[in-house]
Chain length 378, copies 2
């Protein structure tokens, strides 16, 4: 099997991650933060240490400003709904995933309005369009850092500057870039950073996180037991308790910690260099095949290890299906939960085939895939 | 180490559960429902099969009416906020955990009102009080099935009958009873059943679920990518997609499936019989120790394998701490995130010490614990 669906989730996971998850059942099996005995305190320490690992990775000064969530989607929902009130206005980019678009659209029922600012297929933000669409009641700019469909990267530092200038909250969805590109929210004015554990950070599915800027107290969408202020009816204001009601995903957190340590041992730049070599090779070879249509930034620009393409006159799902069935090559076809991106590149009628790399991919796998695509494209 | 904190989370987990989680990384490592290749489809099948295992366990006719969540708290939040609107009234019991109480209280900000109906320390519902408190705008009765503090069990079938008679939605939090007592929501008029994966069902921390009665379409508190209806801005109405945005916790789901299979192999009645023997022994011996105050139903009544006590004139936290530090016995002291229950039994000033059993506990452990308590109580 050749696995080229790393933008959906990285696979295989590093052995350290699997080991760490397994060990968590043995050594960190108590409910953390809710007992005074040794294993409960050990488990609390594991959770805290992982929080610190993440904080150090994203250059966040206080790890308590990071809450663990189920996934990036939950992080985005908590972030958006935590700052936006009826009557507010939100701006989002023309490349958003449904994780950002759907929560925003759902808020329209409660009197929130929104507008989409233009970002092209290469990730170039139309800053004039963005500034023009800012209204007196614009409360939030929410956008992704990198596109899961196109692999392009947005200049979030520049967007952050505009947000700060207009005193607008700024939420970044770094589902595709956490672990691929350096991100330091506190250095570039990001108020809310939603990240997955199971993609570029090499942790298990089922764990993600949300960084909340120091001092920003979100309205909650969930409340419950926190092991703190237990006698109070109100959810504690203190982070991370405010956003972490109920039992946390200890095995997931253990695995995520191991994933980040794995990543840091190799080095994020080294991993990206490896993946970009594969990306460059694939991109350039695909460009030689007749009838292949490539999407996203040209290979000489900054881009993520994601290559999306179509074969002229063919349905993307058919190509994806054939690659899986006849060649045991795992890719994703269709819309990738990002209709806005497909509208932007005019592929709403058929989607695209997406190949995405991880640290374990090898050049021979790309060669096999190219051979298969050549046959299919004939 | 003697582990007596099974009401917080069961430990150890069965070897089958750990194995199943580990194998999920190898065999079911793709993002389910989002790819057409074999491993993605295998992973989807694993998720579906676990959903079916749960449905069969709770005698639910269509497994698609079960959504996976992060924990019971999330399930309760989704359930309550999914049916209640501004202006509605909610009833909850006097034994609720903060997982139920805090979401209800948070809704007061948006014009929801609520009242508490009386349940005594033995789990006896004051039905006259409950019926008296029903108003024309009462939309929901939300209550736990069994108390995490007292081990008493509420007659949810009788509450369900009242709810149906008045056409009120009925949400049950079975955090303490899932896996301990038979529960069949469709047979007793439960519209929403919130359950944990990591307690009596012996799955990993980080996974829970919510059953939603067929045809009931909840307002969502989270929206995002579902792999279905991808081009639509609106969250799909179809279950379970409606409540499962973003990547699911595949390892957690794999472990939960194995946990339920483990449970069913031994038999729920057999497990409870074992735990109740330990409970009876502990309870009766504790009752002999001078200065011991016991809470909850008498041992000859139906009860969960939970024993809460205090030593007259002593702080519960000090006792819990000493049991952990000097005897390596893991218990929980304090409020257990359930101030209402402590108000009901008048222990708001000091909490209680809670001992809770699981399938792996043994009589010699209870003896050791009794020896320790005798010394501490002197």
């Amino acid at each position: 099997m050749i696995y080229f669906d790393n933008a959906a989730t990285t696979w295989p996971k590093p052995p350290e991650v699997i080991e760490s998850v397994c060990r968590s059942f043995l050594d960190y099996g108590a409910n953390p933060g809710r007992g005074a005995y040794k294993m409960a305190m050990d488990t609390s320490r594991l959770i805290y240490n992982t929080r610190e690992t993440i904080a150090s990775f994203f250059k966040i000064s206080d790890c308590n400003n990071i809450a663990f969530t189920r996934n990036t989607t939950e992080s985005v929902n908590i972030g958006i709904k935590g700052v936006v009130r009826p009557g507010d206005h939100i701006l989002y980019s023309s490349l958003e995933h449904n994780a950002v678009w759907r929560p925003i659209k759902s808020l329209e029922k409660s009197g929130v309005t929104s507008d989409c600012f233009q970002v092209d297929a290469e990730g170039k933000v139309d800053f004039a369009d963005l500034e023009r669409k800012i209204k007196p009641n614009t409360k939030l700019i929410a956008c992704l850092h990198g596109s899961n469909v196109l692999g392009c990267v947005l200049d979030i530092a520049a967007i952050g500057e505009i947000a700060r200038k207009h005193q607008i909250y700024f939420l970044v969805d770094c589902a595709q870039t956490a672990g691929a590109l350096p991100i330091a929210p506190e250095e570039i004015g990001v108020d809310l950073l939603a990240f997955p554990g199971h993609k570029g950070l090499y942790g298990p599915m089922g764990i993600g996180g949300l960084y909340v800027r120091e001092g920003l107290i979100l309205t909650t969408i969930q409340e419950g037991g926190t092991g703190s202020n237990s006698l109070e009816a109100a959810q504690p204001e203190m982070m991370p308790d405010r956003l972490e009601s109920g039992t946390v995903n200890t095995p997931g957190i253990a695995g995520l910690g191991a994933g980040i340590r794995f990543l840091e041992t190799i080095g994020m730049e080294e991993i990206l260099r490896h993946e970009q070599q594969l990306t460059k090779y694939l991109y350039e070879e695909l460009a030689q095949i007749p009838n292949i249509i490539l999407y996203g930034p040209h290979i000489c620009q900054e881009r993520l290890p994601v290559v999306s393409f179509n074969i002229a006159g063919r349905d993307s799902n058919e190509i994806g299906w054939t690659l899986g069935k006849d060649y045991d090559i795992c890719v994703r076809a269709g819309y990738h939960c990002a209709p806005l991106a497909h509208k932007t590149i005019d592929t709403l009628n058929r989607g695209v085939v997406r190949i995405s790399f991880g640290i374990y991919n090898q050049p021979w796998e790309v060669e096999k895939c190219l051979d298969a695509i050549k046959i299919i494209a004939k």
